[in-house]
């Protein structure tokens, strides 16, 4: 749907601008309002200089007479105006900070959701080719840099920019000479910030990278901790860690050292500037140098004193900007990575054939039904004449001359042809790497075939909407993934409409009911951390129950029972046989015992089907399967 947008966007577009752009789109009203508030309070906070100048000049006129009554008549109105402005400024600061807090979190929420939603639509290939730790860091570190950017760096930058600009004009109003001097000082500060701040930013970015590296190292070692123990490899693993740790220290230390030094540098350039301003002011007063200013006022002490304060203000604001440099650089890098994830082309889905509830008339015609009927049909709209045909979902899967390669130069499957009629059990046997799992990856379109055809109930699967295609296929994988939640929730994952009774029924079917009811809280036992407190076999039983509750016409069992011992497997097998009844089933297994009762057994070798037939026929053929069965031959 957004296919044409991706290339239209130049790859090199500044991620910072994009981040700001998406913020603007998210808050078209609140953002400008906030900006106005920031500008207003920035202006107010920079004008006291004007008042101080006026008050001091009044003081100078009255100081010798000591006439407070006379002076207060002139000072009081000014102070009241100041108070008025301050009240307004307080209001706007309050509004602005509250709005910022609200917008920052709202923005992060939107970015998180956009990222997550985009990620759900990415093809499986993306997850197969990216480290999970790297994907995770988008949600933690990178998002955090955006928070810093929106809540702090950008407002600080805007605020400081406005103050500097206003103060600059006030300075010009008072005295051009001193303004020139301060401009020189500010130039020096900018040079220093660029040098030191840039160094700090560079090392902060590097720190982030080494942190990722350390994370990866620790993660890998943690996962393999048991292996480390068994091999007494603690020392080596510690050495490896210390090396990464030292690197991390180096980057982190440099980043902070630069950042820490930036403050004193700027502030003390400010101090020197302050002194120079005082000296120059003194000189100007002493030698009565003609003033150049917008106001045309002559040089007076009432100009020099507020000027000194303005110097402080200038310095303070430049310092503030310089402190934000590293977080802006980091936000830019973080935003770049976030947008890179968002820009990933989503899994394309041109499918238009959908799965609908159906009723069948006695004469065999199929109708779409709004209610759940227990029968399903493929709804196939034809673009040519606008007509719609319905095909009853039966579970007939045919692969014809399928070729496939994960990477173009390394073909994995050649000319694979498989016919699975409804209710038939098709088994794939072969060595690891022969391409068994790849075939199932193609049927549910985790990957798309390079050449050939796959038809489901006579429909090219490319025409079927992916979600509907996958809904009609139940997959039990070798590695079981469970979600945080109760056992019941995990079974229900297969069919969100299933009630508790249906879930328990499915668990019984899979043979999982027995161990579940022995868990401390039965079906309400909370599973965390991918069901770490269950054995591999128990997790697989849950996965089977999950597929059972989905009740699909086609099942793919990819080594589903590999981690279950043969005794338990008998129990599971019985359940599975019940489960498989009336369904088309693809079975991948190492154990020949698992596949013996298949209607059709495909022997795969290096991506080719070298033999096919049922158990009996294959044995009689006395080919590879026979040798495999009798243990005389190995497929690798």
């Amino acid at each position: 749907m957004k296919k044409d947008r991706a290339p239209a966007r130049p790859a090199g577009r500044n991620p910072l601008l994009r981040a700001v752009g998406s913020l603007r789109r998210a808050y078209p009203v609140l953002l400008p309002l906030t900006i106005v508030c920031i500008i207003f309070s920035a202006i107010v906070s920079s004008i006291p200089a004007l008042f101080i100048q006026r008050v001091i000049s009044i003081i100078e006129r009255y100081v010798d007479s000591g006439d407070w009554a006379g002076a207060s008549a002139e000072i009081m109105p000014m102070i009241l105006v100041l108070i008025g402005l301050y009240v307004l400024s307080l209001l706007s600061t309050f509004t602005q900070t509250q709005l910022l807090a609200y917008m920052t979190q709202g923005y992060l929420y939107k970015m998180r959701c956009r990222m997550f939603n985009g990620m759900q639509n990415l093809p499986v290939r993306y997850f197969d080719t990216h480290k999970h730790g790297d994907i995770m860091s988008h949600y933690t570190n990178d998002i955090d840099t955006l928070r810093q950017l929106v809540s702090q760096s950008l407002p600080a930058l805007l605020q400081a920019g406005v103050v500097v600009l206003v103060v600059f004009f006030i300075m010009l109003w008072f005295c051009g000479w001193l303004t020139l001097l301060i401009l020189l000082g500010v130039g020096a500060m900018f040079l220093v910030s660029r040098k030191v701040g840039g160094g700090s930013a560079r090392f902060f970015v590097r720190q982030q990278q080494t942190l990722g590296k350390a994370e990866g190292y620790v993660q890998e070692m943690m996962n393999g901790l048991k292996v480390i123990k068994v091999f007494c490899h603690e020392e080596q693993s510690q050495q490896g860690f210390d090396a990464v740790n030292e690197e991390l220290f180096g980057d982190s230390f440099r980043a902070h050292a630069y950042a820490n030094m930036l403050g004193p540098l700027i502030m003390n350039i400010g101090n020197v500037l302050y002194v120079l301003t005082a000296m120059c002011g003194g000189l100007l007063l002493l030698f009565n140098v003609p003033n150049i200013s917008l106001s045309g006022m002559p040089i007076a002490i009432s100009i020099v004193v507020p000027f000194l304060n303005m110097t402080k203000q200038f310095t303070g604001n430049v310092n503030q900007v310089s402190q934000e440099i590293s977080s802006i650089v980091m936000a830019s890098a973080g935003a770049g990575r976030i947008f890179a994830l968002m820009d990933q082309p989503p899994e394309t889905d041109e499918g238009y054939v959908t799965l609908v509830n159906a009723t069948v008339d006695p004469d065999g015609t199929v109708h779409e039904s709004a209610a759940r009927t227990g029968r399903w049909a493929w709804k196939h709209p034809h673009q040519a004449d606008g007509s719609v045909t319905y095909t009853l979902l039966q579970g007939d899967v045919r692969l014809t001359d399928v070729d496939f390669a994960y990477v173009p130069e390394k073909p994995v499957l050649h000319n694979v042809t498989v016919v699975a009629e409804p209710g038939k059990k098709v088994a794939f046997v072969g060595a690891t790497g022969a391409g068994k799992t790849t075939i199932t990856n193609l049927i549910n379109r985790f990957y798309d075939i390079a050449d050939g055809k796959i038809r489901y109930d006579g429909i090219n699967i490319n025409k079927i909407k992916k979600a509907d295609l996958r809904r009609s296929l139940g997959v039990v994988l070798q590695d079981t993934n469970l979600f945080t939640g109760t056992v019941m929730d995990n079974i229900r994952y297969g069919n969100l409409d299933a009630d508790d009774e249906a879930c328990i029924q499915a668990a019984r079917l899979a043979g999982a009911d027995d161990f579940i009811s022995r868990l401390p809280q039965g079906y309400r036992t909370l599973l965390t951390n991918n069901g770490a407190n269950l054995s591999q076999g128990q997790r697989q039983l849950l996965a089977i129950a999950r597929a059972a509750v989905a009740d699909p016409p086609v099942m793919i069992l990819d080594e589903a029972t590999s981690s279950i011992d043969t005794r338990t497997e008998v129990i599971v097998q019985r359940g599975m046989d019940r489960l498989m009844k009336g369904r088309t089933v693809f079975v991948i297994a190492h154990r020949l015992s698992t596949v013996q009762n298949a209607d059709d057994i495909m022997v795969l070798d290096h991506g080719r089907i070298i033999e096919r037939g049922n158990h009996q026929a294959l044995l009689e053929q006395k080919g590879v399967y026979y040798q495999l069965y009798t243990g005389a031959f190995e497929l690798e």
């Binding site: 008050v55 100041l82 900070t97 997850f127 902070h256 989905a550 005794r567």
Partner: protein, 578 residues
Amino acid sequence: MIRRLARCIRDYKAPTIWTPVLIIGEAILESLIPFIIAELVNQINDGCPFETIVRYGLILFGMACLSLCFGGLAGYTAARAAGGFAKNLRHDMYACIQQYSFGNIDRFSASSLVTRMTTDVLYVQMSFMQIIRTAVRCPLMFIFSIVMAYVMGGALATMFVVVVPILLFGLLMIARKAMPAFHRVFRKYDRLNEAVEENVRAMRTVKGFAREEYEKEKFAAASDDIRRDFTRAERIVALNSPLMQFCIYFNMVAVLFFGSRLIISSTGAAINVGQLSSMLTYGFQILMSLMMLSMVYVILTISAESAHRILEVLEEVPALRDPENPVETVQDGSVDFDGVCFKYAPDAEKDTLADIRLHIASGQTVGILGGTGSSKSTLVQLIPRLYDVTAGTVSVGGIDVRRYSLQALRDQVSMVLQNNQLFSGTIRDNLRWGNPDATDEQMEQACRIACADDFVRAFPQGYDTMISQGGTNVSGGQKQRLCIARALLKKPKILIFDDSTSAVDTKTDAHIRAQLAQALPQTTKIIIAQRIASVQQADLIVIMDGGRITATGTHDQLLQTCQIYQDLWAQQTGGATA
């Protein structure tokens, strides 16, 4: 808590101490500068000669340079101290984790340990730096500025009596309210990230069930919940800035009003224009230092949570320790279980293993069969002392395993785990885990026994092929065979296979077993298996059920006497006779 963490400063004591010292110097200078400047302004005001201005200027310039030196150096030492502290913390944590027994590891999850070692340490590093810099500097600046304000402004400085308590009270209230809100939301935030991780890991399942939309809704709900909580917390903190502004404005108005009245009514005797302007500066500094202090307070309380999580890692007592005067040599490969009972948690109701009595002679091949949950794996994990028994004893070479040094014991008991793992690096690197000094010849030999040599050679880079993280670029069967080769390189007296050929073809499996029997006749081999064929030739077959040994014997004996075994045999060979 602080004392335990402070121990990690170690070799970074010098910068840790220098930082506050330098900061004090900087703070003193920074409060003196406005004082001198006020003098200068007054001098200018009085129309002093140019030389006086230059003299003051030079003094100030010198002070600025000195302050820069102090400040810059302090920044450097602070970064070094904090960075070093963090480095030592990570080192200690990693060292601690290395000492953990399996029991300890099971308590923490891997990803939680990773966060503790990275994010949590970063937080603590930041607050450590804040403590030695800001926490020293701010109170100092506060006191100096107050003193100077009194010195210069006299009566005028009394207004700080009004404004300081207001600010202090306000800041404290905000921190008080915000803190618990943040604690809550951080915990939720952790859970959100765990959910994302879970989703990424289970992507095939998500897509397989076409649950993308469901996952999106789930995530949006959780994420929105966090947004609301975070917004609430941040809005409380956002009150800081108007509060601070109020105090600065108050200060400004008060100084201008009372200051000008004081000057005029005393005809410049009590206070002069220069002092007036310094009062503004000091006022700003006083308020600023309070503000910074409250920020430090917030950072500290937030990182206290992190510090606590770090301490949990550091203070976890390893359940297994080397005994005093450990035995360093394992005599032979005999194994004895004598009345062994075992529970994973002391409060577990049922024993995972109950009353295990078993003698395995050195050099024997033992097969262990049993259903899921029959505790086969648990049983063998007691041999290299990955867990300690709850009751009874496990002996290797006739000596209780608890009397060996762990290194000596585990060097002689090699175990191929069920969930095995290769590490990123070349195949050669991985094999060297078994023996760091292994020659190519030895490696190839081990690989030949494990039937791995052929496929390794088939890789374009052979033994130098890179294994990616988690070993995803080799198949399950190949991984298992490499793991077996790795274990063989240790040349152990006892070799344990915990269902470690499950992904290997029957033929290869048989081949490996034959090779093992031939190449390592002296080694005790304990094989947990699913298939009877894998253990049929064993000297002893142990049948386990529900944490107990139900039968032992050879294949022929068991076929005669054991019902479970007969069933298994019938079931596994049924196809062949059919």
